[in-house]
């Protein structure tokens, strides 16, 4: 079953055709990677999924419902969470609060007026948040203010914020960029573990081929706004189109 289907998506910025008739389908439970050289349109595509950008034409359907025209929080509420490339965390709040916010949003919906409920009554959400933070290795920094964390930790926190919502579809934008090799491997393990144990469908944008080939069930290669190949990892490496796309930009 295909959980996310993208058909004929076009997006222009002035004279630049950022996305050109993009088609993509992601099957449920899979880890689907999107790779491609710089400027290929990967982030633009992701932004079209979460309501940040509206494509000029085409359709994006999630579980049979169109995501286009929905507000960001509505898209999240139907089960699509996103992990940002540059950490967009709540820098003034603690690590635990950063994770509890998406957890509460997942449980309570887009708005709940509960001004007199005590935070410490939210033990379920707290436990859930701590679980995720343990998975991701931040359990000893619960009360740290997010702004004082290292960059790597911020990225992991970003990931925890996505994971805690038990999304049906998790969009990850270069989850390991800027991480050390050890951290990268650790992240790969976490994602693999979560993908297997919770059955979360993931779409990953990534530069690091090591990450892509260790994780992905399927890979789409994007170049100059178009999907040039979509295949299982084993078939991607030797594909001449892919090589050309990368070498072409290298020149």
């Amino acid at each position: 079953m295909q959980i996310l289907e993208v058909k004929g998506v076009n997006k222009r910025f002035g004279g630049l055709q950022a996305l050109n008739d993009v088609n993509l389908s992601v099957s449920e439970g899979a880890i689907h990677a999107i790779i491609g050289p710089n400027g290929a349109g990967k982030s633009t595509l992701l932004n079209c999924f979460i309501g940040r950008l509206n494509p000029d034409s085409g359709s994006v359907t999630f579980n049979g419902n169109s995501l286009l025209g929905m507000k960001p929080h509505e898209i999240n509420q139907v089960g699509v969470s996103r992990v940002f490339q540059t950490p967009e965390i709540f820098v003034d709040l603690t690590v635990l609060e950063n994770v509890m916010i998406p957890a509460l949003a997942h449980r309570d919906g887009a708005f709940k007026l509960n001004p007199f409920r005590r935070m410490r009554q939210e033990t379920d959400m707290r436990d859930k948040a701590i679980d995720v933070l343990e998975d991701i290795g931040l359990e000893d920094k619960l009360d740290m203010t997010a702004s004082s964390m290292s960059r790597g930790d911020k990225r992991r926190l970003e990931m925890a914020m996505g994971l805690v919502q038990d999304p049906k579809l998790l969009l990850l934008d270069e989850p390991t960029a800027g991480m050390s090799r050890a951290d990268t491997n650790n992240t790969i393990d976490v994602l693999k573990h979560i993908g297997d144990s919770r059955g979360i469908t993931m779409v990953i944008i990534e530069h690091d081929m090591h990450v892509v080939f260790s994780l992905a069930d399927k890979i789409s290669v994007l170049a100059q706004g178009t999907v040039i190949v979509e295949d299982v990892p084993g078939n991607i490496k030797g594909n001449p189109k892919v090589q050309e796309a990368y070498l072409g930009t290298a020149n």
Binding site: I50, R52, K71, P72, H73, N76, Q77, S81, R82, F84, E88, I89, F90, V91, D92, L93, L96, E97, M100, I101, P102, L104, A105, H106, D108, G109, A110, F111, K112, L113, N114, P115, F116, R117, R118, M119, R120, E122, D143, M161, Q165
Partner: protein, 379 residues
């Protein structure tokens, strides 16, 4: 998080003690008389409410005095129509302010940042201009809405007091005037009535800050965009915060009318809205005690510094030799009496330059320095 339960209880207890002992605490500073004490409580409530909006969400409203003003008008109308009992007046004040904050909030919150500030400012100026002139039949314009002998007062009992009261308990009654180290302290019914609401307001604000709702508001301040990508619809949260703080302002306005049954249009002017912004920042935006402290600070200045004249100055420096006395009076003279605005302006600048977190921020860092030293000497 666990010990916040105890520290919050301690904070609340501390707050209650300070409020109840207010007349004693202020006696040595010449501030222990009903009007000023009442103003402390009223503007404390106003600032606490404003802080729920500004301190938590970071949205800077420049029109909050409108809700205070309409609250006062609502309350005085209740006095005019029903009776001098304060309860219907307070209910009306909060309801009217709530209504106006829903309307103004709904429109203004379509924008954020400085655009939001200017929208609220624009509404406030429109409301003030209208209240001062065109709406005179409702607001009594320049003079302010007051109670006349020929007002209907349908529920006014034959022998109930002809002043604002709570079932006969007169708001302007001073029930105890002890001498306190040579200073007179005045214990007044109206002050304790306001203080009761101040404590409630403080407690509710504490609960709101510590609630999931409050956490969402703080998240809005930090990164509103991210919050919507997290599945939260931020606008209803903002509107709720706006209306809650508007109702706080309405309560403050209602209490003001209960203490002094006249509602002047000036309390809706943009300068009045600016004043609550200054109170909050001065005390420490986002802190629990800061806004109350800031409110007290500004009201104290307004009440005490503006009343110091040369006669008072001469009595201060009377112990000095004549030439010295005149010299000192000449030096202090520009900063008091008609110059009290100058002192206020200088203090604004000094506090924001040297105490970035406001008065509370300053006290906290002072406390840190002191305890830090304490530890060193121990170690």
């Amino acid at each position: 998080m666990n010990n916040s339960k105890y520290s919050d209880a301690a904070l609340l207890l501390f707050f209650i003690i300070m409020v109840v002992a207010g007349p004693f605490i202020l006696a040595p500073f010449g501030g222990s008389y009903p009007d000023l004490l009442q103003k402390f409580a009223i503007f404390g409530i106003f600032a606490i409410g404003f802080n729920i909006l500004f301190g938590l969400t970071g949205y800077l409203s420049f029109g909050h005095a409108v809700f205070l003003g309409v609250g006062s008008y609502g309350a005085v109308w209740m006095f005019k129509l029903l009776s001098y009992n304060v309860l219907p007046a307070l209910v009306m004040a909060v309801v009217v302010a709530g209504f106006f904050s829903v309307v103004i909030g709904y429109i203004s919150l379509r924008r954020s940042g400085i655009y939001f500030s200017i929208l609220t400012l624009a509404f406030a100026q429109m409301m003030f201009n209208v209240a001062y002139s065109v709406a005179t039949p409702i607001t009594n314009g320049e003079t302010g809405l007051q109670i006349y002998n020929d007002d209907p007062q349908w529920l006014q009992g034959a022998d109930s007091p002809l002043t604002t009261n709570l079932f006969g308990l007169k708001m302007n009654e001073v029930f105890w005037r002890p001498e306190f180290f040579g200073f007179e302290a005045q214990f007044n019914v109206g002050y304790y009535f306001c203080a009761f609401f101040l404590v409630i307001a403080f407690y509710l604000a504490l609960r709101i800050t510590r609630s999931p709702f409050g956490m969402m508001l703080r998240a809005i301040k930090t990164n509103q965009n991210r919050l919507s990508f997290t599945g939260v619809s931020t606008r209803p949260y903002m509107l709720a915060a706006f209306v809650i703080s508007g109702m706080y302002a309405g309560l403050a306005g209602g209490l003001w009318a209960c203490m002094d049954p006249l509602a002047g249009a000036e309390r809706m002017q943009w300068t009045a809205s600016g004043e609550v912004v200054l109170m909050t920042i001065l005390g420490g935006a986002g802190t629990m005690l800061g806004p109350v402290l800031g409110a007290g600070f500004i009201k104290y200045f307004e009440a005490i510094f503006s009343k110091i004249n040369d006669q008072v100055l001469h009595s201060w420096f009377a112990f000095m030799p004549d030439g010295m006395e005149n010299f000192m009076v000449a030096i202090v003279h520009p900063f008091v009496g008609k110059g009290w605005h100058l002192t206020l302006g200088l203090l604004f600048m000094m506090i924001v330059i040297f105490l970035p977190g406001g008065l509370i921020g300053g006290l906290t860092s002072l406390g840190r320095v002191l305890t830090g030293r304490g530890r060193k000497s121990k170690g």
